[in-house]
Symmetry: C2
Subunit: 139 residues, 2 copies
Amino acid sequence: MIRYSEVKRILKSHNLRITDGRIDILEFILRANKTISIKDLEKEFKSLDRVTLYRTLTSFTENGLLHKIPDDSGHATYGLCHNTCDSKNHYHDHIHFKCNECGTIECLDQNVPAFKVPGYLVKATDVILKGVCKTCVIY
Amino acid sequence: MIRYSEVKRILKSHNLRITDGRIDILEFILRANKTISIKDLEKEFKSLDRVTLYRTLTSFTENGLLHKIPDDSGHATYGLCHNTCDSKNHYHDHIHFKCNECGTIECLDQNVPAFKVPGYLVKATDVILKGVCKTCVIY
DNA sequence: CTTTTTATGCAACAAATTTGCAAATATTAA
DNA sequence: TTAATATTTGCAAATTTGTTGCATAAAAAG
């Protein structure tokens, strides 16, 4: 169970102003336990303006609460950062899985390996696996 | 130097009809030697309709000439496939690098490693490194 | 060179995202 | 606790991105 005080604490610790909308949105994200898109939020929060949802995702991302997951579908998807992120340091060191069947994008526990490219400065790594997820796979 | 006959041969070998537009576009992509976006094409080919550019990217991708690279910017980016791709078999087994300075996305020679996730069926893997590219990096 | 197939341009549409601005709300400082 | 300041929200409107239908033009096949 996620408590109101905990949600507030998380917002505060990321230097985000505490508003009713943000509390509800963050609680929803925490509870969802999967990556979310603007569509998910629009479906869930009919009372909040679309623009506000976009801006919330942006500020959450800027302040290290969420990370944007690259996708070739043209729909931005966001996942929760691990506790270590803030506006200065943005690690999202886990890999992602996109299911071709249900479309869900999950954050997996597996960490990304280190890549070294001579002459390049690597600051972040995104790994997106595609295929059939645990829920959709048929043996 | 890329010759007209070579460009035609490549189109033909991917079962793509040869048109003036496609020759110009493919030549541009081959010459660019980096990944391209619809924006790049719009800038370069003012005489071609936007819809045609979209459709060209789609058919090039469907026929294994290009691959779509996931990106979190909301702008689809495409890279040349290695010679081995066709409409049936689509391998793009190399990793990508996106430069935070110049925005360019490059295909690197390095191959993606194999990821195994218990319970999941992995069919494709995308790796996008982010940082500062060879051209922009300052020592 | 005629037929068949496919690509192109145009107009219109649809979806996704951004911007400016005034009003409302949250935080800070007194 | 209140007044001043800073930020967020909602609304309307614009922009950007991508798609669809259809007539015409062009390419490939016979």
